[in-house]
């Protein structure tokens, strides 16, 4: 039986690496005494698959992972049990069985919704206007694959300013040639200067051929099989 979870990593836990998150969950599942299925072979390990790793420093309320269990049990009790043994800053928000025929969540996760908050020292209005202008003009931005138009990589950008902070809300691909990391966007708009930057992944989506976004939560509503 496939179990999917949506979890958050916030506060100092945002600084955990993907590898550290994987180890953390393997041990938490053992502590919670979940009847998790192990890989076959010489060196059995807990089979757990995670959606796109979030870079170090990104807070998230939309991380996904899946594992298999041997025994059926109440999904909400399981959630409580695991949450009781997770360290501060990491928490399961949603849990459910994953339906038959759904590919693994790593494949499904294609796009995420982000909020980036950045403090600016100089005149915030000017910074705001400049970013807006660049987005309108659809300037070129480089990700790790090449150079692309802004609106291809940073979709549906909304931008606001309050108390010397700039708020960027946007969607971007988490894999493929159009993927871009939040820190590259920050560098592009604000330069290299180090300044308070808070970044959140708010939701993660599968995207259909016609562009329709499906929140990954919808995949956690399968029946027990």
């Amino acid at each position: 039986m496939r179990i999917g979870i949506r979890f958050s990593k916030t506060g100092f836990a945002a600084y955990l690496s993907h590898l550290e998150i994987m180890r953390l969950f393997a041990r938490a599942l053992r502590r919670a005494n979940v009847s998790v299925r192990y890989s076959q072979g010489f060196n059995p390990r807990i089979k757990m698959i995670f959606s796109t790793p979030s870079p170090i420093g990104l807070s998230s309320v939309a991380e996904y992972g899946e594992f298999e269990v041997v025994d059926e049990e109440s999904i909400n009790v399981m959630k409580e049990r695991i949450n009781a043994v997770l360290p501060v800053g990491v928490k399961i928000l949603n849990i459910g069985y994953i339906g038959r025929g759904i590919p693994n969540l790593m494949e499904c996760a294609k796009m995420s919704e982000y909020l980036v908050i950045r403090r600016v020292n100089s005149n915030a209005d000017d910074v705001l206007a400049s970013i807006k202008g660049r987005y309108e003009r659809n300037e070129k931005i480089s990700n790790r694959k090449g150079s692309f138009e802004l609106r291809t990589l940073i979709q549906d950008l909304e931008i606001a300013e309050k108390d010397d902070k700039i708020y960027l809300h946007y969607f971007s691909d988490v894999k493929g040639k159009n993927a871009i990391r939040y820190d590259d966007i920050v560098k592009y708009f604000f330069g290299e200067e180090r300044m308070l930057t808070m970044a959140f992944r708010l939701n993660s989506f599968d995207v259909e051929m016609d562009g329709t976004k499906i929140n990954l939560d919808e995949y956690l509503e399968g029946r027990v099989e």
């Binding site: 506060g11 100092f12 836990a13 600084y15 955990l16 690496s17 550290e20 180890r23 953390l24 393997a26 041990r27 938490a28 599942l29 053992r30 502590r31 005494n33 192990y38 072979g41 010489f42 060196n43 059995p44 390990r45 170090i56 420093g57 043994v85 997770l86 360290p87 501060v88 800053g89 403090r119 820190d183 180090r194 300044m195 308070l196 930057t197």
Partner: protein, 624 residues
């Protein structure tokens, strides 16, 4: 008042870490964030005594250490005290901390280390002395005890290197010699009493601490040197300071708590597993081994309580591996029964067992193949020396046949990689003893292992061992390393790792040094910006050379052979061992005379049981 100041400091540290985006730019930020599963966060305003425990190495090393885990849990189990942890920040983090004016802070509450009542360092090797002093520098605590007058925190340290505490004596208000678990509690209780009575003076606390067995207050002693530079006397300045400081020793481990809720780090620790200490101490009597002399006598834990502890630790940590720790685990009286009892449950939960450091003669292949859950890592064997003569000199006791049989068996049972440990530069070592190492390696290679890893360490004479008198070889080691290197070049499946002789030289002078070395360590940290001497790329011998010269000291003086009747800088420390016993062992070593293990043979009168009123405790629970 203090609480609000503290809150301000913590706020500033956290804010700077986040505002300046420091954590995202350093390697492995999880080293600094705390909040690991089973870490303990108590409210500092609700306890009387706060302790910062520091392991002056990088996080992945420090978090693996059992001794500090034990102390952390013991202190936090007291309702009037708390302990928080800190480690040496790696150089990238150190740079950021200096740039943004962040003092060394604890992982739990992100408080400055300087805000605690006590700061305790765990010292596992002489090469972390610079790290310890660097931690004081980063905490902005004056490094020399004399300059701290009546200010807190009080700085203390413990660990096996305190068999000779003199090189670090000037930095520390108190040094714990021996087992720390009972002493630590007594020391904290005295601080609490002092606070309760409004007697919070450093002089009062140190005087009370001096009454505790195992606590050494360096400032209470006057060291005199002769005109040749040797220590002439170490005399107490006050009548209440004992002329000899006896080590603290836990009589029976079964009466001591053991941490069940062990911290599970995020970052992969160097020993990333649950641990149980199945016994403490070793009486094999290897003449080079400081741990063997420091942790006497043997004290086994009861098998049934170990079974329960292992089960509880695994369920509270979720670890996939458990290590059965001791100085030589196969010596545990009921090892096979213990493993038989825990194995079914472990196998069912896919948990493996690790047994560190095995002697060739006591290594049980049947046991190990059973434990081997398929990881098939390298099998490690430690012949230590190349010939029977030299193995007898060091009292290792294993034979050529033991080693060859073990290698053949390992090969037959399918091990593809083996790791062999040797030591060079030993007293009485001859050319033919090095030939012996090469011929053992040739034998191992002839069995056609896929890989033969050989780790060759340089012998460093350690205080309170029979070899404490020995001359420390340096040039000789260079020559031997050349031979080994040439041999390794000709054999592709052989990989030999060597330690730079200069690093062993520095380790040696810090091991057998006197109080004058404190100034050298200070110079290294404060004037030359050095630390992390245990990392090859960060270790600078030329800086050590300068620091020694600038302080008017020479390496030659410290590596020389000591007269057996010479007053040694650590003679006022007592591990319970008679100096006469060490002299006897040193003298008979030359003829290769063996001294058998007193656990299973007659007592050879080393002094520990007699003087400290303890005895070897073997777990006889199963005997009829």
């Amino acid at each position: 008042m203090r609480t609000s100041l503290l809150r301000r400091d913590v706020g500033r540290i956290v804010k700077t870490l986040l505002n300046e985006d420091i954590l995202r730019t350093v390697e492995r930020p999880s080293r600094y964030i705390g909040g690991e599963w089973n870490s303990i966060r108590k409210d500092r305003s609700k306890v009387k005594v706060s302790v910062a425990l520091i392991f002056p190495s990088v996080y992945e090393v420090g978090i693996s250490h059992l001794g500090l885990r034990i102390l952390y849990h013991i202190v936090n189990s007291l309702d009037f005290a708390l302990a928080e942890r800190s480690y040496s920040p790696w150089i990238d983090m150190e740079e950021q901390m200096e740039k943004y004016d962040i003092p060394l802070f604890t992982l739990e509450s992100k408080s400055p280390v300087s805000s605690f009542d006590l700061v305790g360092f765990s010292l596992q090797s002489e090469l972390v002395y610079t790290n310890m002093v660097n931690c004081l520098r980063l905490s902005r605590i004056p490094p020399f005890a004399l300059d701290r007058k009546d200010t807190f925190p009080l700085i203390i340290a413990g660990g096996p290197t305190t068999a000779n505490p003199e090189p670090i004596a000037d930095f520390l208000d108190a040094i714990v010699i021996g087992d720390g678990e009972e002493v630590m509690v007594e020391m904290i209780e005295i601080v609490k009493e002092a606070k309760d009575m409004g007697l919070l003076s450093k002089a009062y606390i140190l005087k009370r601490w001096a009454e505790i067995q195992g606590v050494y207050i360096p400032s209470f002693y006057q060291v005199q040197y002769s005109n040749t530079g040797r220590v002439e006397s170490v005399i107490p300045k006050y009548s209440f300071a004992p002329p000899k400081i006896k080590k603290a020793v836990v009589r029976d481990l079964n009466e001591q708590p053991f941490p069940i809720k062990q911290i599970v780090p995020y970052a992969p620790a160097i020993h990333d597993r649950a641990v149980v200490e199945i016994f403490r101490g070793c009486t094999r009597g290897c003449r080079f081994c400081q741990a063997g002399y420091f942790y006497r006598p043997v004290r086994e834990r009861n098998k049934d309580s170990l079974v329960k502890m292992i089960r509880d630790i695994l369920s509270s940590t979720g670890y996939e591996e458990v290590g059965l720790l001791s100085l030589n685990t196969p010596d545990y009286t009921h090892l096979s029964e213990l493993i038989e009892e825990i194995l079914p449950n472990l196998k069912e939960n896919h948990i493996s067992v690790s047994i560190p450091s095995s002697r060739v003669d006591s290594f049980d292949f049947k046991l190990n193949s059973e434990l081997d859950t398929g990881r098939r890592t390298a099998l490690t064997l430690a012949p230590e020396a190349g010939t029977q003569y030299l193995r007898d000199v060091i009292n290792k006791g294993i034979t050529e046949d033991d080693i060859k049989m073990a290698l053949e068996k390992a090969h037959r049972m399918g091990w593809q990689r083996i790791k062999l440990y040797f030591m060079i530069g030993l007293p009485h070592e001859r050319e033919e003893d090095i030939d012996g190492i090469l011929s053992l390696l040739k034998f191992a290679l002839s069995l056609r292992f896929k890989r033969v890893n050989v780790s060759v360490s340089n012998f460093v004479p350690k205080p309170w061992t029979p070899f404490q008198f020995a001359y420390q070889k340096v040039e000789e080691i260079r020559g031997i390393q050349e031979r080994l290197r040439a041999f390794s070049k000709a054999n592709r499946s052989l990989h030999i790792s060597l330690t730079p002789p200069e690093r062993s030289l520095v380790e040696g002078i810090l091991s057998r040094g006197d109080r004058r070395l404190s100034k050298v360590i200070y110079t290294m940290v404060y004037e030359k910006g050095e630390r992390f001497d245990d990392y090859s790329d960060l270790f600078s011998f030329s800086k050590w050379k300068e620091a020694m010269e600038e302080n008017g000291l020479s390496f030659e003086f410290y590596i020389r052979e000591r007269d057996v009747d010479e007053i040694l800088p650590w003679d006022h420390i007592s591990l319970g061992i008679y100096k006469e016993h060490l002299i006897k062992e040193y003298n008979i070593s030359k003829a290769g005379v063996l001294t058998p293990d007193c656990r299973w043979n007659r007592c050879y009168n080393c002094g520990v049981c007699m003087r400290l009123n303890v005895r070897n405790i073997l777990d006889r629970g199963l005997e009829r």
